[in-house]
Amino acid sequence: MSVQEETFLTPVVPLDFTYNYYIGQYLTRYFKGFKEKKILGSRCPGCSKVAVPPRKYCGVCNKVMEEMVELPQEGTLENFTVGHVTMEKGGRLSPAEKPYVLGLIKLDDKASLLLHKVEGVDPSQVKAGMKVKAVWKDQVEGDYWDLDHFEPA
């Protein structure tokens, strides 16, 4: 019997369990900054580059980053993509309700690029090099989505 002629049961095997991660001291500081509508990064004493969001170690220099710096709220859209699909839990692709923009944003020449949503602009009009600014939720709570998106400055 060839493979094509065979049929198999296909039991669904979910892996639905919970990990409780601690986010650590640096992301905690980042989100504390959000409570004051500040974007914080950590500066490396070796190469003076700034990681956004902040983290403790610079991979290039293998040094501890202790200095926290506040970044400007306005920056340049360095690179972007317009999404026409969304990836759902389980890795399934679905058509997006409408096209949306994801951008890599440079807030400072020394800072790493921050990936975020770019709204308030027709996706077909988005250009690399555009100036964009942070848009916060009215009520900030020190959580991931306080910094809601970026829009043209």
Binding site: Y21, P53, H84, M87, L102, K117
Partner: protein, 381 residues
């Protein structure tokens, strides 16, 4: 490395949906290889698995394959990365002098049974990326594609040209999963948009598949085959995990891996000395990007290289004459499949896709978002 370790045989298989089990695919491939070479499982001194726990839905996902792979009560180990890293591990085991043969086994059923995108999804940071849900394998690749096109001023048509060449080669290759007859630029350009500038046919297809390959010491290789393919050099390197800190338009880790591999192989001028490349480009833009990093194409000249046919099967630097990963990407096995495809070329057994002069081939494998980790192996006859 001067002809110390050879590839003496391989088996591989890919399809959109193989309607099979991991055990059965493993048995078919490994038993097939033993029969090809006239050996039994006792002739395999060590076995290296390259499977993905997450995609298999089981931890230490090699533990249920010892029976089907014939390594019950024998020496075995595992690399949870692209299997070209496993090939390098197997080489090192033979070079240690403790083993005369080493088998590499890699497979993934990421066509129908589980989504291939979970591989990168669950490599991303659980405490940041996976909370934000902005980054995934495809959006990351799209940012890399845009960065590459912008850097060199290439038009999006380059992506179509790369995809047409790869998919045309794949259509003529019976080992490939995605074989589209008469694929054209129009067909590629009109495929569904995913994340701009990437469309469906610029991206690898969800694929079931696997590959097994037997390596042997020089002495043992002569007993097992008349057509040994020698491992001449190898190298690997990894760059930072954080996309916002990478120059996505280039691959410095591939440059470094290639440098080490070429040094071991005694290759000084890859453009002149390499006859073909099998590159694990999961997305169209990655093929020229990685070929540049491997020193095979002039930086910034990708558009003319693809337009002039230099990279075609009949060109002066054929890239992915097999069709590459746009023809199939069983996650983890892809780098090993590239090695097996290079072996077909070097033995003159690549059929319609055979390149003219095939004496030295470069093989590349990758893992991580936007090819974070890269492995390079030089093969020759």
């Amino acid at each position: 490395m001067d002809k110390k370790v050879a590839i003496v045989g391989f088996r591989m298989k890919s399809a959109p949906d193989l309607v099979t089990t991991r055990e059965r695919l493993t048995f078919e491939l490994t038993r097939g290889l033993f029969d090809d070479l006239g050996i039994e499982r006792e002739d395999v001194d060590t076995t290296i698995f390259c499977t993905n726990d997450f995609l298999d839905g089981r931890t230490i996902s090699n533990c249920f394959l010892e029976g089907p792979a014939g390594c019950y009560m024998r020496d075995e180990s595992k690399v949870e990365m692209d299997a070209l890293n496993g090939l390098m591990y197997a080489c090192m085991r033979i070079l240690s002098g403790q083993y005369r043969t080493a088998m590499v086994v890699s497979l993934a059923l990421t066509g129908y049974q589980v989504s291939p995108y979970l591989h990168i999804e669950y490599q991303l940071s659980p405490i940041y990326d996976r909370q934000m849900r902005l980054l995934n394998e495809l959006s990351a690749a799209a940012l890399q594609a845009r960065s590459y096109l912008t850097r060199y001023g290439y038009s999006e048509e380059l992506l179509d040209a790369v995809a047409v060449q790869a998919l045309s080669n794949a259509a003529a290759n019976p080992y490939q999963a995605r074989r589209i007859p008469g694929v054209s630029k129009e067909k590629v350009a009109s495929s569904s948009p995913y994340y701009e500038p990437l469309k469906e046919l610029h991206c690898y297809p969800p694929t079931d598949g696997g590959c097994v390959l037997l390596l042997a010491s020089a002495e043992r290789a002569k007993e097992l085959t008349d057509k040994p393919v020698w491992v001449l050099g190898m190298g690997q390197s990894i760059e930072t995990f954080y996309l916002g800190e990478r120059d996505l338009f280039r691959s410095p880790s591939t440059v470094k891996a290639a440098k080490r591999a070429y040094e071991l192989a005694g290759i000084k001028d890859p453009k002149a000395e390499v006859d073909l490349a099998e590159v694990s480009a999961l997305f169209a833009h990655q093929e020229p990007l990685l070929a540049e990093a491997l020193g095979l194409l002039e930086e910034g000249a990708a558009e003319s290289s693809y337009q002039s046919g230099d990279t075609a099967v009949s060109g002066k630097m054929p890239i992915n004459p097999s069709g590459g990963a746009l023809g199939g990407h069983p996650v983890s096995a892809t780098g090993l499949i590239r090695a097996a495809e290079a072996v077909r070329q070097l033995r003159g057994e690549a059929g319609e896709n055979q390149v003219g002069k095939a004496e030295v081939a470069v093989v590349h494998g990758q893992d991580g978002p936007c090819a974070q980790q890269n492995a390079v192996v030089v093969l020759g006859v």
